[in-house]
């Protein structure tokens, strides 16, 4: 490990270890339970959560797989719809003027609150979860892509027009490639909130998945298992974010070289 990496990662690791250590002691000495006037078994120590992670590994893995599929499909749906919608709004000014204010206003709708309706409409399958995730992820993707498309200096358009490019050629050869880094940051934001969407989708109606597991474990007062599921969920979010960052660096538009195309 390089000195720079140590310098970068040491402070947050120290804080995390200190936090877990204090939690462990506070839980072991029942300090938290006393402060909250609840039964000590309701406050698992980090070591209890680790034990649950280990003991329930198969259960967690099975449910994580379900949630992961929902996240992947929901995110893919949001990227396809968000990118397509941004393209359409950018291409046709009338559409943008008609939809952009509504798009902004739609952010005030608590998607979570309409999730029960989605279950009524789409049943208990994967459908409503995908829609909840896609609805939550749609906004950052659309807005970022649209910003990217509109960020292109109009001089590029003028230059391309004298080079015999039509409107759609300018879109695909200049504006779309220029917007991809913006799309990438939109997807990174979306990936993080997609995990929240999946959990809410499962809370409203599901018989599997980590969100469902949390509900069931909560009903059975297995708090260590609840925390274990939460830990897995946040690990999924962090992994997704990290993967996307790696992907962005590897295929980053114009900072590092792209792999050479076959000639």
């Amino acid at each position: 490990m390089s000195a720079a990496a140590i310098k970068r990662w040491l402070p947050p690791v120290v804080v995390l270890v200190a936090f877990l250590g204090l939690w462990e002691l506070a839980a072991r000495w029942d300090l938290i339970a006393e402060a909250l006037s609840i039964e000590p078994f309701l406050v698992p120590a980090p070591s209890d959560i680790a034990e649950a992670l280990w003991k329930d590994a198969d259960l967690l893995a099975d449910n994580a797989w379900v949630t992961l599929q929902e996240i992947a499909l929901g995110l893919a749906l949001a990227i396809a719809c968000g990118f397509g919608f941004a393209l359409a709004l950018h291409r046709w000014d009338l559409l943008r003027r008609a939809f952009y204010p509504l798009l902004m206003a739609s952010q005030t709708i608590p998607v979570i609150a309409i999730a029960p309706v989605l279950v009524v409409w789409l049943g208990f399958g994967i459908g409503p979860k995908l829609v909840v995730i896609a609805l939550i992820c749609f906004f950052p993707i659309t807005v970022n892509t649209l910003d990217g498309l509109r960020s292109v200096d109009p001089d590029y358009g003028r230059m391309m027009r004298t080079l015999d490019a039509g409107r759609s050629r300018i879109l695909w050869a200049v504006e779309v490639p220029a917007s991809l880094p913006f799309l990438a940051s939109g997807v990174k934001i979306a990936a993080v909130v997609s995990v929240i969407g999946a959990v809410f989708g499962e809370w409203v109606g599901a018989d599997e998945g980590l969100g469902h597991l949390i509900l069931v474990a909560q009903g059975q007062v297995q708090t260590a298992r609840v925390f274990a599921a939460v830990a897995v969920l946040s690990a999924i979010a962090i992994t997704l974010f990290g993967l996307l960052t790696l992907l962005e660096r590897r295929f980053g538009w114009w900072k590092p070289r792209q792999p050479k195309e076959a000639r």
Partner: protein, 278 residues
């Protein structure tokens, strides 16, 4: 010496309103502006401007910044229509036809950072529907001729400022248009590179004969590269002086621009520029 008053005589000679570039880009096409006026809201940028450029002529436009030189290029290129007056390029008056005859090189190179140098240069053939291989094949000989051999697959951010401007110029040439509109092409470069690039462009224009309009704020650059230089006043732009260049595009540049006859013309141009800016 031609004067702008002769504008009505500048009827198309080499092109006859056929397809753009019907006679090929080599040799250029004449440009004629008659009483062109244009503005933005209350801001009057051009007021009844007459201008005539012969086929294959290299014309320089110098003037105080903000005097409307870039607007003039945009109007000629057919990127916009003037509010009043007529513009003809190769005998064609409609904006779309002018657009088909003019290639525009902006001050900033505007290379697409995700494309290699040769793919950037080959944008125009690609825009017209050529395959990537065809477009690259069209660009490759120019890379060799214009000192860019070996840099075909370099990305713009791996090239020096001068190299980037060369690629931008090749991109403009590969548009295959009879008219080149160069809007302060070397303004962003340092003095030494600018001198080298002027010499390079002079060489390029010797073999690639196009009607060329060069906008510059650098009197010396315009007088070195152009056959004729018009000094424009501040807004609304009018021609305050017209100067025939002493020895356009002579080699070596350093000798050419320090010759007493060149210096004399330059001093006259600077004086006109000062008086026109008032």
């Amino acid at each position: 010496m031609r004067t702008t008053a002769e504008a009505p005589d500048m009827e198309p000679r080499t092109m006859s309103g056929d397809e753009p570039g019907a006679n090929g880009p080599q040799g250029g096409a004449p440009i004629a502006l008659r009483r062109v006026s244009h503005g933005f809201g209350d801001l009057e940028v051009l007021a009844s401007l007459d201008l005539a450029v012969g086929a294959g002529e290299v014309l320089g436009l110098v003037g105080p910044s903000g005097c409307g030189k870039s607007t003039l290029l945009e109007l000629i290129a057919g990127l916009a229509e003037p509010e009043a007056g007529a513009i003809e390029v190769g005998g064609a008056g409609a904006a779309a036809e002018r657009l088909g005859r003019c290639a525009y090189m902006p001050q900033r190179d505007l290379l697409l950072p995700w494309l290699s140098a040769i793919d950037n240069a080959a944008l125009a053939p690609r825009n017209r529907g050529a395959s990537r291989a065809e477009a690259r094949a069209a660009a490759a000989p120019l890379f060799e001729r214009f000192g860019l051999k070996g840099f075909e697959d370099s990305r713009p951010d791996e090239l020096s400022g001068g190299m980037r401007q060369r690629v931008a110029f090749l991109r403009t040439l590969l548009a295959g248009k009879p008219v080149l509109l160069l809007d302060e092409p070397f303004a962003a470069l340092d003095a030494i590179t600018r001198g080298e690039m002027q010499e390079w462009l002079a060489g390029a224009l010797r073999t690639e004969v196009r009607t060329t309009l060069l906008v510059s704020h650098d009197v010396e650059e315009a007088l070195y590269l152009c056959d004729r230089v018009l000094v424009l006043s501040g807004r609304p732009a009018r021609v305050v002086a017209e100067l025939a260049a002493d020895a356009p595009r002579a080699e070596p540049r350093d000798g050419a621009v320090s010759a007493p006859s060149f210096v004399a013309v330059r001093e006259r141009a600077l004086k006109a520029l000062r008086e026109g800016s008032r």
